[in-house]
Amino acid sequence: MFQAVVRTVVPEAEELDPAAWDDLEGLVSESLRDRPPELLRGLRLFLRLVEWAPLFRFGRRFTRLDRDRRARFLAGLQTSRSDLLRVGFWGLRTLALLGYYGREPAAESIGYRPDPRGWEARG
């Protein structure tokens, strides 16, 4: 389910192999490790809502939707009038971006290659 969200938020995630997904999910788990239990409960509930709510609009669960409909559904959450839905999506999107861009290969793929040697490394 979370993978389907990540693939919609960052289309390049379609290219990830199982080891890369392990890294991504490991980063997300680590970042949630010490968070308050109520936040984690809320997140789990929101994931369920994202999975089942499209049934009413598209007649299918989120994970059964094509990419375009997934994106339309998430865009609806993003601009929703409800604070709860917007904030929930903001949190989910943040975790998806953390997992994807927090990995070194993703950072390198966008040209981000920091070096502790700074200017010296530039030659």
Binding site: L27, S31, R86, W90, G111, Y112, P114, G118, W119
Partner: protein
């Protein structure tokens, strides 16, 4: 519960705690026992990897993503030996005279803040970086500002041997930044002050701190605590709370103090900030070189915002851009061509914005964007967008706009593009790192938590010496002012030591 006894216990080791530790350290010569309790770890020099998520988890509370109560903003709070001074960019500005006068704290004059700030500018090697070390991300900001006739200024920074790794906010891998972890704490330790890391102050009792020492987690960074893991009752004749603008008020709120402090937790401000991104046609030097070399404060008084150069890491950048999907990815793929500007609102105290604790004693920050803050962020965004285009950017990402991507051809039609209604929970990523207030200084318990020297009203043994003392926002990067106030509090403690320690 284990027992320990000291004469002075300092809670926190950042700009406030590190300064107090250094300034009180001479007392150790007379046999005074001083301990600093730091919740986070002390990292070895080779543990500063520069990896974004790993370092954020190690050096920030909640990995830098501490959420306000309504989830509208994240707060960055440094933890570990040196506190937030390990993760700031070292920008060193003396508080404006009008701000200190506006605080209206009896006996606190701007000249005194300036004198004390200059003392730490000298100690911490504050200077202007030479031009050759300024990267294009910063140069473009200067160019854009000058083309528009703005009065752009260079930040003095407290670095020594900066190699331009551009990783300041993840802890400098070259230990170039001269925070309290490099200057004040080592001096204090040399003079006999004991620093206990992985030691969290749970609550205060009459002349005592109840604290918990935790073991290093498996695979975690940093040295193990010097004390055995477990709970401690640490007796002290003087306690100085320097845990920052969220955790100092929370510590006092958790404690059953025998006084009524109606203002405790109130007066919280934080300079809410937006990261703006402009895309250039060609790659620029952006993630090499000091990330924050220039600022623009000419609109602070009139429009309530400051602009600063900045350069963030992939996840932080991705989070700051609105939207998702292909358009979002396209901007991220242009990373080497991105210029960044930070828009900070000079917020002011508001009755609704404050720190409380939940039933488990954890801090809760209530913060809502006032109309003035929304307006400041909107005006700051517009000004930043103009600077990007004046510097030659092809397109600019405006997070608080219905259509965030603004092309160069639309640069003349920027007015009205920012939709202030989008400054609501879940729409725009707003974050803050300049956390202030909560234990404000003042005249008496009706208007404040402490006196003008940081002494808590009605409790001669309890002091506060950190950004929580600020009665209102300082409207600049706060660390030098924190050090100046901590220096002032330490001076008062030294003066009264004979009475307080007997």
């Amino acid at each position: 519960m284990r027992e320990r006894a000291y004469d002075i216990v300092i809670v926190g080791s950042g700009a406030g705690g590190g300064t107090v530790a250094q300034e009180l350290a001479p007392l150790c010569r007379d046999g005074v026992r001083i301990a600093v309790l730091e919740r986070g770890p002390r990292l070895r020099e080779d543990e500063f990897s520069g990896r974004e998520i790993e370092m954020a988890q190690a050096l920030y509370e909640d990995g830098g993503g501490f959420l306000t109560a309504d989830r509208s903003m994240t707060l960055a709070m440094g933890i570990g030996y040196g506190g937030s001074t390990t993760v700031y960019t070292g920008t060193s500005i003396i508080a404006p005279q009008r701000v200190i006068r506006g605080w209206n704290v009896p006996g606190l004059e701007p000249e005194e803040i300036e004198r004390r700030s200059r003392k730490f500018m000298d100690q911490n090697n504050v200077h202007l970086l030479e031009e050759a070390l300024i990267n294009e991300n910063n140069q473009l900001f200067v160019r854009g500002c000058r083309r528009l006739g703005y009065d752009v200024q260079q930040f003095p920074v407290n670095v020594k041997g900066c190699r331009g790794a551009s990783l300041c906010n993840l802890g400098c891998p070259n230990q170039a930044k001269q925070g309290t972890d490099r200057v004040q704490l080592p001096r204090a330790e040399q003079a006999g002050v004991e620093v206990v890391t992985r030691c969290e102050a749970l609550r205060l009792e009459e002349r005592a701190v109840i604290a918990r020492v935790t073991a290093r987690p498996d695979g975690g960074k940093g040295e193990p605590a010097s004390w055995e893991p477990g709970d401690y009752r640490i007796r002290a004749k003087i306690v100085v709370a320097c845990a920052g603008a969220v955790n100092s008020p929370a510590l006092l709120l958790r404690s059953r103090l025998p006084v009524s402090l109606a203002r405790l937790g109130h007066g919280f401000t934080c300079h809410p900030a937006l990261i703006l991104v402009g895309q250039h046609e060609r790659p620029i030097t952006n993630f090499v070189g000091h990330p924050k070399s220039y600022f623009l404060d000419q609109f602070a008084e009139s429009d309530g915002f400051i602009l600063e150069t900045c350069m963030y890491f992939p996840f932080t950048t991705a989070k700051s851009l609105s939207g998702f999907g292909a358009a979002h990815s396209t901007f991220m793929k242009a990373f080497s061509r991105l210029q960044m500007i930070l828009v900070l609102a000079c917020d002011h105290t508001d009755p609704h914005n404050r720190v409380t604790v939940d039933r488990r004693g954890r801090p809760v920050v209530h913060y809502g964007f006032t109309p003035a803050v929304k307006s400041a962020l909107a005006h700051g965004t517009l000004t930043a967008a103009r600077i990007f285009f004046a510097a030659g950017a092809q397109r600019v990402h405006v997070p608080a706009a219905t259509t965030p991507l603004v092309e160069r051809r639309d640069a003349e039609r920027l007015e009205g593009i920012v939709d202030e209604r989008l400054f609501r929970p879940g729409s725009v990523t707003v974050s803050a790192a300049h956390l202030q207030g909560g234990c404000g200084m003042g005249l008496g318990p009706q208007d404040s938590v402490t006196d003008a020297f940081g002494r808590v009203h009605g409790l001669p043994w309890l002091f506060v010496a950190d950004a929580s003392l600020f009665p209102d926002s300082v409207e600049i990067n706060p660390y030098l002012t924190i050090m100046a106030l901590a220096d002032r509090a330490a001076e008062r403690i030294r003066r009264d030591a004979g009475e307080l320690l007997n």
